[in-house]
Amino acid sequence: MNRKMGRLAGGFAGIVLVLASTSLSGCSSLGVKPWEREVLARDDMQLDANPLDTSLDDHIYFSKEGTSGGRGFGGGGCGCN
């Protein structure tokens, strides 16, 4: 890993740790009570409401662009890139 990648790794890890610790401590006031989840529980509010669309898109962009992934482990297993 070169120096730039090392710095980026440190930066990313920092962002994620800050987010994680913020979420776990200071932002424990964020969020909702269990009985306030009516909207969040709708099918169209799910983070991956259309898994087939997501995996087909990941596969297309994996085949046609120089970078891929990030959302999940999509797109792999293809000789197209």
């Binding site: 990648m5 989840r37 099918d43 970078t67 999940g72 293809c78």
Partner: protein, 441 residues
């Protein structure tokens, strides 16, 4: 659908949605217990100018065994046809190339980008996954996937765990995937930077080829945070790390060797009575490792029934390909049982450090070089719309139509002689048409 099941679905999706394409399939927890929840899709992808066309059928079945213990099974069959850019550049005269098999030739008219028309493949991919809660706040999932093509085999394993906090308003997740791939190129693996040879008879030996296969290993790690921000808003942030090693070269891509002054491809004449390349073309050579990191964020917000989804991804790697992706969708309900969802996506990337438009004749070879346009400076956008409708029985039809445009650019520092201001990149437009049907058995 009962509200209590939906609540479980929301929690599980928030928790597990981070865990890769295989895992989130398990996370749509609204499936009734003891039934199969089945998603099917037909996809047509077609590029302009008779380039790649892909028709694929996909099925994904999820069965809930109770207590959120779920099995998922997926199957995809793809058929690819059409022509693909070889990496060689356009010339002011017609060009002839030996095809990847080493046993035939194809020609490109003057002024056109060479496309290898022998591109044809059928791909079958299958996946299986299991997900279940354990202890009070944890969920575990694991899966495997395989795919096979006539020149490529893939085996992948993945596993992940999630942990809920703050009355399940916060979820942390960690997932790992391992991929073991095997490349078996038509005509065997080309020797890096070796010259494309003349075509041989069916029983002849193709020159400048080595082993019949090479391996590639991929390790992916994903760490994610999902946070409920309010009654109408959900945020997800993922950090991903990916390490690929082994054979990362594209065995079918070549580079044109050009005159250092004119920038025009060098002319070569095959021996009399022999068909072969009319220029000097070298097989590409990429590094045997690549380390990539990415940051992905997604926000979902409900505006009185309309759902806005925005996502941003930054990716960087030690090939120096840095990319930004910005994506948005807005789902409008139309009456009680149908919706319309426009989609916009913008993508931009910088060129790989070893991207070359061509190679200068007589100059020392670089350590690595590829003229694959997917490693050049690139901009792309997608514009699309989806329409979905629920049937009275609770099943759903949907269809989407999207338009994709991609334009590449060779960085000026890799241009040779008169190529400056005079390059031709294999830009293209593509149409994506998809039909989905979702039902229960």
């Amino acid at each position: 659908m009962a509200a209590d099941k939906r609540i479980g679905g929301a929690l599980a999706a928030a928790a597990c949605g981070l865990l890769g394409t295989a895992a989130p399939r398990l996370s749509i927890a609204a499936e009734p217990e003891g039934k199969w929840d089945i998603d099917t899709a037909f996809l047509f992808y077609g590029e302009s100018d008779d380039r790649v066309k892909d028709a694929s059928l996909t099925g994904l079945a999820i069965r809930n065994y109770g207590d959120d213990r779920k099995l998922s099974l997926g199957l995809t069959v793809d058929t690819l046809t059409g022509a693909s850019p070889s990496g060689a550049i356009a010339a002011s005269r017609p060009q002839t190339f030996t095809s990847p098999s080493g046993k035939a030739t194809y020609s490109t008219p003057a002024g056109e980008i060479p496309l290898d028309s022998s591109f044809l493949d059928t791909r079958v991919a299958a996946s299986a996954g299991w997900s279940q809660p354990f202890a009070r706040w944890y969920t575990f999932n694991a899966g495997l996937d395989i795919s096979t093509e006539y020149d490529y085999q893939h085996l992948g394993l993945n596993a992940g765990v999630t942990r809920d906090f703050n009355q399940r308003n916060t979820t942390l997740s960690l997932a790992v995937a391992l991929g073991k791939d095997k490349v078996e190129p038509v005509g065997n693996v080309p020797v890096p930077f070796a010259q494309m040879t003349d075509a041989v008879d069916d029983d002849g030996d193709v020159g400048n080829r080595g082993a019949d296969s090479e391996d590639k290993d991929v390790l992916d790690v994903l760490f994610g945070v999902t946070q409920v921000l309010g009654r109408h808003t959900l945020l997800r942030v993922n950090y991903s790390y990916s390490d690929s090693s082994g054979y990362l070269t594209d065995p079918y891509k070549i580079l044109s060797v050009v005159d250092p002054v004119t920038g025009e491809p060098i002319v070569r004449t095959p021996p009399p009575g022999v068909e072969g390349p009319t220029g000097v073309y070298l097989f590409e050579h990429r590094p045997d490792s690549r380390t990539r990191q990415g940051l992905y964020t997604e926000l979902r917000h409900d505006f009185s029934g309309k759902v806005l989804q925005v996502g941003y991804r930054y990716s960087t790697d030690d090939w120096e390909v840095d990319s930004h992706t910005l994506e948005g969708r807005l789902r409008f309900p139309l009456g009680g049982n149908s919706y319309l969802e426009p989609h916009l996506r913008y993508y931009t990337q910088s060129a790989a450090s070893f991207y070359r438009y061509s190679l200068a004749d007589g100059a020392p070879l670089p350590e690595f070089a590829s003229a694959d346009a997917r490693l050049a400076d690139l901009d792309a956008y997608t514009v699309g719309i989806k329409y979905g409708r629920q049937t009275s029985g609770g099943n759903e039809w949907s269809t989407r139509l999207e338009f994709y445009h991609q334009a590449g650019k060779a960085p000026s520092e890799v241009l040779i002689g008169n190529q400056v201001g005079n390059t031709l990149m294999p830009d293209f437009d593509a149409v994506i048409l998809q039909l989905n049907y979702h039902f229960r058995l």
